[in-house]
Amino acid sequence: MSTTAVLRSEWIKMRSLRSVAGSLIAVLIVTLAVTLLAFSTVGQSEAAQAGADPVFNAFYALNFGQIAAISFGATALSAEYLNGALRISLAAVPRRSLLYAVKITVVGAPALAVGLVSSFSTFFLGQTFMGKYAIDLGEPGALRAALGGAIYLMLMALLAAGLTVVLRSAVAVLSLLIPFVLIVSFVVGDASSGVAQFLPDRAGQMVLHQNPEGSLGPWGGLAVAAVWAVAALLAGWWAVRRRDA
């Protein structure tokens, strides 16, 4: 049983589910739609405010793209927990760690690819509306934010994927993570110091700021988000190996 064969198999499984393929494409569509809406209306007035972070503003739409990324990670794995589909998968590929690693790969790699397209295209699309406030990739932190933003989207998808395996339900994961990134972060909000800065989304989004506050720094923050994702993936791995299917 070759890894390539399992990769091809899992890829077929993923692209043959509209809900999963759809939420992956939604990462890009949502990001661009929000970019279009926000930048064509309030883009310049936001930039005119004192203390505005032109880099963070440029990647504003990724906040919404990440919800699609979370949905993608969750639905890609939850398909196996519907009516015991995992049994069919494990009967074909009984090496559980291999199956899991491949599943994570077919979530992570497309999420990173779509993340890159999303972060660069939101940047370029958004800046076309910015007039005299427009920045380019030479702006300090802009290129770093574009690359880091893509990695961030991938990490959120992987976090959701790992949690979905542990909880065996996309609904549970979505109702946990989406309120978390939408509400908790906004409420805990700009207290980007203390414990709050170690939350996966707060930490991960440091990389989108021109001059991130707090002690972590842009890449340090992304690393903290990566630790969250890896922890979720390890928990998922443990569950896949230990549980009866």
Partner: protein, 310 residues
């Protein structure tokens, strides 16, 4: 040849023992019917054989190997566990293709099994549009993908129409004739008696019987002959004289408890009585099974009187 070997297999879910110290082998070249009421542990045993559940104790192997250690397992073992498990949003073709590709099988094989299962026309339809019978056919197609030497089917005739039931019966017989190992679970007795050569019977997770079907029927039925004649009075008198107790049914046939057709035939021949019809009447699988489980129930209630068994 490849057999399925279950050795002292036990599986507990919490405090309930779904499978209790089970030992049996499923041999190639015949259809083994896996019988027992719902909840007897048939499906759990199959999951344990496939390495999907972890046994509490004992082992289950296929050709001496644990399922999880078989490379490209679909080429050696085909299983249908639950027809509803296939994801409804996929097309039948994609469902099979994903399985095939993982075990190094090609798209051509997918088309072959689709046609073999009678799903050639609906390969592009989403599985959620399928009836239960079509899902069963899809599950059987998946089991046949790798042309496996071991086939395990859990309640395959569920939801199948009469045509489908005949198809699956002939398919299982053919697979066994080809020398494959075929294990088929069912709780339908008449159904099972139409295809099984051998029986493994479970009750409450324990092995109740493991024997050829004919032997099981013989062991569970008292001989009884049925005869129809043109000369009822003479036949009755002769039989009573010989110590039999013939009883005439409403249709005119005589039933003789404790007699074999051969004995009655010989008597009729020496007496010169014309016989129109003469058969051994055998218990149906259903009767034999109920007879067995009645014993088992007594055994269970007797043993539960002992506190250490509880």
């Amino acid at each position: 040849m490849t057999s399925i070997d279950v050795h002292e297999l036990t599986k507990e879910f919490g405090s309930t023992r779904a499978v209790d110290n089970l030992t049996f082998s499923v041999r190639p070249g015949r259809v083994t019917g896996f019988l027992g009421p719902n909840g007897a542990g048939k499906s759990t045993t199959m999951r344990l054989v496939l390495g999907l559940d972890r046994p509490t104790g004992g082992t289950a192997t296929i050709g001496g190997q644990f399922y999880a250690t078989i490379g490209d397992p679909l080429r050696r073992v085909g299983a249908l566990l639950d027809a509803q498990a296939a994801h409804g949003a996929r097309t039948a073709r994609n469902h099979l293709l994903a399985l095939a590709v993982s075990n190094g099988l090609g798209a051509r094989r997918v088309e072959e099994v689709l046609v073999e299962a009678g799903l050639g026309e609906v390969g592009e339809a989403r599985i959620k549009t399928f009836s239960l019978g079509m899902r069963q056919r899809l599950g059987i197609a998946a089991a046949l993908l790798g042309d496996p030497e071991v086939v395990m089917l859990d309640e395959p005739s569920n939801g199948l129409d009469p045509e489908g039931i005949i198809w699956i019966r002939e398919l299982m017989k053919r697979l066994a004739r080809e020398g494959r190992t075929v294990l088929v679970s069912s709780h339908l007795m008449n159904e099972t008696s139409s295809f099984a050569d051998h029986l493994v019977i479970l009750g409450r997770g324990r092995l109740l019987a493991d024997l050829p079907m004919q032997e099981f029927l013989d062991s569970r039925s008292r001989p009884r002959a049925r005869v129809r004649t043109t000369d009822s009075t003479r036949l009755r008198d002769v039989l009573i004289r010989k110590g039999y107790d013939p009883v005439q049914g409403e249709d005119g046939r005589w039933t003789i408890e404790g007699a074999k057709a051969g004995e009655i035939g010989a008597i009729a021949a020496t007496e010169g009585i014309a016989v129109l019809e003469l058969t051994d009447e055998q218990a149906t699988l259903e009767q034999a099974y109920l007879d067995l489980t009645a014993d088992a129930t007594e055994f269970a209630s007797a043993s539960s009187a002992h506190p250490q068994e509880a």
